[in-house]
């Protein structure tokens, strides 16, 4: 993995296209429900509108509340440096960066949780505690998935364990890879507060998780948070798609495959949201437990595959 100046371009697709994923999910849901739906570019317009507004701060809120959106977005942006985008190699890669990746995302969530607790609102505290609880359940499953990938490629760097698939070893790997991908998809839904875990479109504070946590934020702060969650969705989808990327082939084919895969994941999330109802809160840990079990099974298959 040589360092070229154009490697810095790898973050561009994430920076530019991540709100589009939200647009695609919204459009898919609208089409599935027989509505026309908001235009695909609506998330961009929302972001621009919010950036043009001023922010309102409560009297109990301190600097923690003001710093939370910026810290959260900065952590996610740093994490996005570690992922390659199709043919473009990641700008930042070193052995062990997958741990940093996971905990930068955790840092971003911690900032938001701290900000939510700082408002002194009961609703936000409730949302924060739920978010913290569910992320605690998602974390072991996520590390199991990363562990499976790391074991498979015998490397500890995200760019090394993703996108290295070749045709020869493809068929031997596909059972464990498919299991790990299913587990990762469940984690993606949970981490990005999508439907079986959380309903991003709900209007009832009592049933919200992520949305209730950011109720008090307004203006540019809210724009940071929305953009951050779009980026986070992009990152998780990118890990999911890169698991299946081939390393060979011309650059434009690989780029097209990557972007097609990303939009495919968004459509898949939209379809999942259309066909499923939100799970009861008590059943969410079961779903994440299932993700962990699937990832564990993938690891088991991988280990068994090495034996005669």
């Amino acid at each position: 993995m040589t360092a070229h100046w154009w490697n810095a371009l790898a973050v561009l697709p994430a920076l530019l296209l991540s709100p589009l994923l939200l647009g695609i999910i919204g459009k898919t849901k609208a089409l599935a429900a027989g509505r026309k739906g908001a235009p695909l570019l609506q998330p961009y317009r929302d972001l621009l509108r919010l950036l043009g507004k001023g922010a309102v701060y409560g009297r109990t809120a301190t600097w923690v509340f003001r710093a939370a959106p910026a810290i959260s977005l900065a952590a996610i942006l740093t994490a996005s440096l570690m992922l390659s985008a199709g043919p473009l190699a990641a700008p930042l890669a070193f052995s062990g960066d997958l741990v940093l990746f996971a905990y930068l995302l955790a840092l971003s969530r911690f900032a938001l949780i701290a900000g939510a607790m700082d408002t002194g609102s009961a609703f936000e505290g409730m949302g924060a505690s739920r978010e913290a609880a569910f992320s605690a359940f998602a974390e072991p499953a996520f590390f199991l998935v990363l562990g499976v990938l790391a074991w498979e490629e015998k490397a500890l760097s995200l760019s090394a364990i993703l996108g290295g698939a070749d045709v020869a070893s493809w068929s031997a790997k596909i059972p464990s890879l498919a299991l790990a991908a299913t587990a990762l998809f469940l984690i993606l839904l949970a981490e990005n507060s999508r439907i079986p875990v959380d309903d991003p479109a709900t209007h009832l504070e009592l049933t919200m998780i992520h949305e209730v946590m950011v109720l008090d934020h307004s203006g540019p702060d809210l724009a940071f948070i929305l953009y951050g969650s779009a980026l986070k969705l992009w990152l998780f989808s990118a890990v999911l798609v890169s698991m299946f990327m081939f390393s060979s082939g011309p650059a434009w084919v690989s780029m097209a495959l990557f972007l097609g895969g990303m939009f495919g994941v968004a459509v898949l999330v939209g379809v999942t949201e259309s066909v499923m109802a939100r799970l009861r809160l008590g059943r969410v840990p079961q779903l994440l437990g299932l993700a962990a079990v699937l990832a564990g099974l993938a690891a088991l298959l991988l280990m068994a595959g090495g034996r005669p």
């Binding site: 079961q286 437990g289 099974l297």
Partner: protein
């Protein structure tokens, strides 16, 4: 071809997990049927498509376990009006964990088998053990009579799968005998379940330990 075998075996393992967590009887029955169909196809794949013996075994398994038995069980579900298993002895979360532990145990067991017993590969023996353990789990932890029937059938799926690894060619007569036994077993159980339902208004087997009717 080997990747097809592996794909089916992974599907069998996943279905084991599904069977251990679902509370809906219709999902349970459908899961069992799909698993049986997959195993029937596996018999064809392993023995080769030109063997007449394999066609008969696979066809018999498919017709009885994937079509006839699920049909009778579904009828029993409709007639007894028991769509969900509401009070398992172990919660569904724990039951998933137990099934996952079962899969681990199955892999450990399969790795310890003598070489000739896992001629067809480690994964198939592991899947066989995992399916048997799941069947046992269903038998032990559920209280509805119908779920226990399915547990017994899943157990039999595992045994059939293990037969594939161990012998490759089980005598046709033996296999047909087993299939007939399973079919008659499921058929009789269907009738028994219906009769339990008619007499007691429910099919909860934990209530069957009381002998006298007037006792609660």
């Amino acid at each position: 071809m080997s990747s097809w075998v592996n794909a089916i075996l992974v599907a069998v393992l996943l279905l084991d997990l599904l069977l251990s967590v679902t509370s809906r009887l219709s999902v349970l029955i459908r899961g069992f049927a799909v698993q049986a169909a997959g195993i029937a196809f596996l018999a064809l794949l392993i023995e080769g498509f030109d063997s007449r013996h394999a066609w008969i075994v696979a066809g018999g398994t498919l017709a009885l376990k994937a079509v006839a038995i699920p049909y009778f069980l579904n009828r029993a579900v409709i007639r007894t009006n028991a769509r969900r298993e509401l009070e398992p002895l172990v919660s569904y979360g724990t039951s998933l964990l137990l099934a996952a532990l079962g899969v681990l145990l199955a892999f450990a067991l399969a790795a310890r088998l003598p070489m000739e017993a896992r001629r067809a590969g480690l994964l198939i023996a592991a899947a066989a053990f995992a399916t048997m353990i799941t069947g046992l789990l269903l038998l032990v932890t559920r209280t509805k009579a119908l779920t226990e029937v399915v547990g017994y059938l899943v157990l039999e799926n595992g045994i059939f799968l293990f037969g594939l690894t161990l012998l490759g060619r089980m005598p046709l007569l033996v296999e047909m005998g087993i299939l007939l036994d399973v079919f008659v077993g499921a058929f009789v159980m269907g009738i028994v379940v219906y009769n339990i339902h008619r007499t007691f208004d429910h099919i909860d087997v934990s209530a069957l330990t009381t002998l006298k009717e007037d006792e609660p």
